[in-house]
């Protein structure tokens, strides 16, 4: 028996935290069906009546409460995503870090979620493609019905079909090129686009004078090729960033509609972000209502300002944004002890009654454990022996139900125990082996690495690094000055470092930032730093001339544009995730211990970024132009080293076939072995992109490596 367990390199029970709700693949029948059905019913209130609808006021934020950590909050969100499928535009939101930029963080995450491939529609379409096509199809249909085409009565069936199947009419494979061209021409025509914009008003959709611009940007996004200027510009516009003149021209936007200000304050950016969110929600009268899910809310409890900002955001979403359902998940004592007391009374009233998660009972525990073991092709005899009655009973000696994570932790300990020679099958397993922080961090890094969606620029994570993780390093005082851009300040008596958080690439804004950097860095031992991640365009842009000069000069005077490698991004995101897990009780590690360990682990980072010593400043090289936003594009090399052979973002069909054949044969294998079979270690990131997309492939991150598993769906 022990040989069976010892031979498996992956403990089937160690995956006990859902990092990303879209990874949920299995649910124990009946467990937490009641909260799920409640949420589905609440969402259903937003889909009453035929499309397009007048805006529907949003219900209160639905408060999903776990009696303690590990009852399946994120799992429930995953089930909800699956259950609602293409009925909802699904947005998963991790905690924001700066109260004064809360809306900006929410919008940034929303646009990143919208630009992810949809799980429910055509494989390569994004959620935003589906949303844009849905909106445009209904507007086109309205236009036809209201006199836009002659004899529209004869086209009644076709118009109805367009409304019901916008993706098949307007989808990327373009079966109706004529319709797409006609719609593009309408939107490009000044008089017709005004007529289209006016149609929005008939459904009481108020986009504050930007109706035409919204239609142009939606069309620019969805009717353009991937990696095109139009598509990239549209994403910038949705984020509220200012567009370069050629980008605005590509979308056909007037100067007035290019309303992202170059030189702007945090509060102005915040206000703009809320307007964009309002626009998206208002337009969802035409298609799928939004589902916003605030998860890992325990982080808000670590700071009074954050808890208050969360309450304020929920309150304003409920009051101002139509056509959406907000869900907030929380652990009970975090909520009652750390968050609720720091929230305004009026904001507290914007939450629903608690929707309580239930624990798992004995019979369902048996089903879950059996399923986990069967996923690894262990036969029924082994499964029956693993679920030894006295052992199972011992888990329920105090009460009739327990948290799912608690069950998995105990099962993982039993699995380890049974893997050792000469163990008895009966009775309780020894105490669970507690992970060290090193191990937990290593697993978390590999966990982030397996999820390409987590490799994107995340200003909240960078803020956390500069504001929380850095606190106390070398006697630093962390301040939040009211500068336009450089909003975090590391202060020592003899030196200072400022940080700005900018994911955009507008040359005007970068010029303004460079000027502010020069002002701040004037007078000696000071630095101004801006981080860039591999998914962002390099700064300065290849065709910038005046801005390049300004930035070059600023770099001479203390500005540093720090390009993080993918490895660094993964480490930083893993660090925040691990700390968040400790705060939530998801890992058996004290938050203070984790924070202390992380501070030591990131000491070289602090040393690097706190240094204000002059170093030879090289004029910034002209970087080769890149595709605007390669999906999954990444570089693991040091930013300072030239990349001679950039790794491909995706595997070819032949390579994917090879992976599938290899995994079908091996069932479970080290990723390095799979890469050997592919013939190149450079394909690691591309392979992980495919694993995330493939229904039969699953990644199991461990401290040393990542195991890939072939699952029979």
């Amino acid at each position: 028996m022990s040989r069976v367990f010892a031979s498996l390199p992956v403990n089937p029970f160690e995956a006990d935290v859902i990092r990303e709700p879209r990874e949920v693949a299995y649910s124990v029948p009946g467990l937490n069906d009641s909260p799920l059905n409640h949420l589905i019913a609440e969402f259903g209130r937003l889909t009453v009546g035929e499309l397009p609808r007048n805006p529907i006021p949003s219900p209160k934020a639905q408060l999903v409460v776990s009696p303690e950590a590990g009852y399946g909050k994120s799992h429930l969100l995953g089930r909800l995503f699956q259950a609602l499928g293409p009925r909802a535009t699904q947005i998963y939101l991790l905690p924001f870090q700066a109260p004064e930029r809360a809306w900006q963080s929410i919008l940034l995450a929303t646009v990143q979620e919208l630009d992810r491939p949809s799980q429910h529609d055509l494989r390569e379409e994004t959620q935003l493609d589906a949303f844009a096509m849905g909106v445009l199809a209904h507007i086109a249909a309205d236009f036809m019905v209201k006199g836009g085409v002659r004899d529209h009565d004869r086209l009644k069936r076709e118009i109805e079909h367009l409304r019901n199947h916008p993706l098949s009419f307007l989808g990327r494979d373009r079966p109706n090129r004529g319709l797409v061209d006609w719609l593009k021409a309408l939107i490009a025509s000044r008089s017709d686009s005004i007529k289209l914009a006016n149609l929005l008003k008939t459904h009481r959709i108020d986009l504050q004078g930007r109706e035409k611009a919204w239609l142009q940007v939606l069309a620019g996004y969805t009717f353009s090729e991937k990696d095109s200027v139009e598509r990239y510009a549209a994403l910038s516009w949705f984020r509220g960033d200012p567009l370069e003149s050629e980008e605005a021209a590509a979308l056909g936007l007037s100067a007035g509609d290019n309303d992202g200000a170059v030189d702007t304050t945090a509060s102005e950016i915040n206000a703009m972000s809320l307007r964009r969110l309002h626009g998206l929600c208002a337009l969802s009268s035409y298609y799928r209502p939004f589902l916003f899910c605030f998860d890992q809310t325990e982080v808000y409890g670590s700071d009074k300002g954050l808890a208050d900002a969360l309450g304020n955001c929920i309150s304003r979403m409920h009051a101002n944004l139509p056509n959406h359902l907000t869900i907030v998940t929380t652990n009970a004592t975090n909520w009652t002890t750390d968050i609720l007391p720091n929230m305004k009374r009026a904001d507290q009233d914007r939450f629903s009654d608690e929707i309580r998660l239930e624990g798992i009972e004995r019979e369902r525990s048996r089903i879950l454990i059996a399923k986990r073991l069967q996923d690894f092709q262990l036969d029924d005899g082994v499964v029956e022996q693993f679920i030894e009655p006295a052992w199972l009973l011992s888990l329920f000696k105090a009460q009739q139900s327990i948290g799912v994570r608690h069950l998995l932790t105990r099962a993982a300990a039993r699995f380890r125990e049974l893997g050792r020679p000469h163990v008895r099958l009966e009775g309780p397993e020894p105490p669970p082996k507690l992970p060290t922080v090193d191990e937990a961090f290593a697993v978390e890094v590999n966990n982030v690495r397996t999820k390409p969606a987590l490799h994107h620029y995340n200003q909240d994570c960078l803020m956390w690094f500069t504001q929380v993780l850095s606190n106390g390093f070398d006697g630093v005082t962390v301040k939040k000055p009211k500068n336009r851009y450089f909003s975090t300040h590391w202060a020592w008596k003899d030196r200072a470092v400022y940080f700005a958080f900018e994911g955009g690439d507008n040359n005007g804004r970068w010029r303004a930032m460079a000027k502010e950097a020069v002002e701040l860095a004037a007078g000696g031992r000071r630095r101004a730093i801006v981080f860039r991640t591999p998914d962002l365009k390099p700064i300065p842009g290849p065709r910038w001339i005046a801005a390049r000069q300004t930035i070059d000069q600023a770099c001479q005077k203390g500005l540093r544009i720090e390009r993080l490698s993918l490895d660094e991004v993964c480490e930083l995101h893993a660090a925040r995730e691990l700390y968040s897990n400790a705060l939530q009780g998801n890992v058996d590690l004290a938050p203070a211990e984790v924070l202390a360990w992380l501070k030591a682990r990131f000491r070289p980072w602090f040393e690097k970024y706190s240094s204000v010593n002059d170093r030879p400043t090289v004029k910034l090289p002209l970087e080769p132009p890149r595709a605007p936003k390669p999906p999954g594009k990444s570089s693991t090399s040091d930013a300072s080293k030239p990349e001679t052979h950039p790794a491909p973002a995706r595997l070819s069909d032949i390579q994917l076939r090879r992976v599938v054949d290899h995994m079908k044969e091996r069932l479970l294998d080290d990723i390095n072995e799979v890469l050997k079979a592919l013939g190149s270690p450079l394909l690691r990131e591309a392979l992980l992109v495919e694993v995330e997309k493939h229904p039969n492939l699953k990644a199991h991150p461990g401290p040393q490596t990542i195991y890939l598993q072939w699952r029979i769906a």
Partner: protein, 255 residues
């Protein structure tokens, strides 16, 4: 495959509590006995909880439709009946096994463990350390004590028995509901907060909560925040084998 997943469920439903071996099931739905499709359909149906098995019954490994599958609860009641009928006469394990011929072995073992844990049957040992069983009702009759309404409870220890009688969930409920309302309707309430309101000792409240948790009328929970004061943590219940104390509880509806 000739039969669909629906056919499999239908065939097993027809077989009822007799169940079907894999070969018989394949025959019933006109599929080849060693068909991979059949095996993957069975795996899928099992994971959805529509069917159960295979259970080893005698020489056969049988599948059942979920509703007709043997359950531990059913076996528990059979074991209880057999032991009740035996009265004060002890039943050896081999006699018990004979009386339970043809049942699923894993469930049978589980049922005995459950009955022992719930104090419904008593396991004794003879000089050769073989197991002997007797039903608790027979013992209660002999001792002439009241069994009380809660037959599922393990008899409280001597130190707990006098305390247990002095406090009930009815005493806790008004304070619990007031605290729940104070925290915006969140039903997870701190044991410490109840202790402050109730005029009872910590042991008394712990005994009550542990007893009611076993009956399913209360659920006990560990803290999920690091910011709880020390006194709140110290008011929690420590249970052997659990790393974290239970510091909060939920009073289930209808309890």
């Amino acid at each position: 495959m000739a039969g669909s997943e629906e056919d499999i469920v239908r065939a097993l439903a027809r077989a009822g509590t007799k169940g079907l071996a894999a070969a018989a099931l394949a025959k019933a739905i006109s599929a080849p006995p060693a068909s991979k499709q059949l095996s993957s359909a069975i795996t899928k149906l099992k994971s959805h909880g529509a069917i159960r098995g295979p259970f080893r019954v005698g020489r056969f490994s049988l599948f059942f439709e979920a509703k007709s599958a043997p359950t531990r609860e059913h076996l528990e009641s059979r074991i209880e009946d057999l032991l009740r009928r035996a009265g004060t006469r002890v039943t050896t394990r081999s006699d018990l096994d004979k009386g339970m011929k043809g049942v699923v072995q894993s469930l049978y073992k589980d049922a005995i463990s459950a009955l022992k844990a719930e104090g419904k049957i008593v396991e004794l040992r003879n000089a050769r350390r073989s197991s002997l069983y007797v039903h608790r009702d027979a013992i209660i009759d002999q001792l002439r004590v009241e069994s009380g309404g809660d037959r599922g409870d393990r008899p409280p220890s001597s130190t707990q028995s006098s305390e247990a009688a002095s406090i009930s969930l009815d005493d806790v409920r008004p304070y619990y509901l007031a605290l729940k309302a104070e925290q915006g309707g969140i039903s997870t309430v701190k044991i410490y907060d109840i202790l402050k309101k109730l005029d009872v000792s910590k042991d008394e409240l712990h005994a009550l909560l542990l007893r009611e948790a076993k009956r399913g009328r209360v659920s006990l929970h560990a803290a999920s925040t690091i910011y709880l004061p020390r006194e709140v943590m110290e008011a929690g219940i420590r249970v052997e084998g659990e790393q974290q104390p239970y510091v909060t509880f939920i009073l289930r509806e209808g309890s």
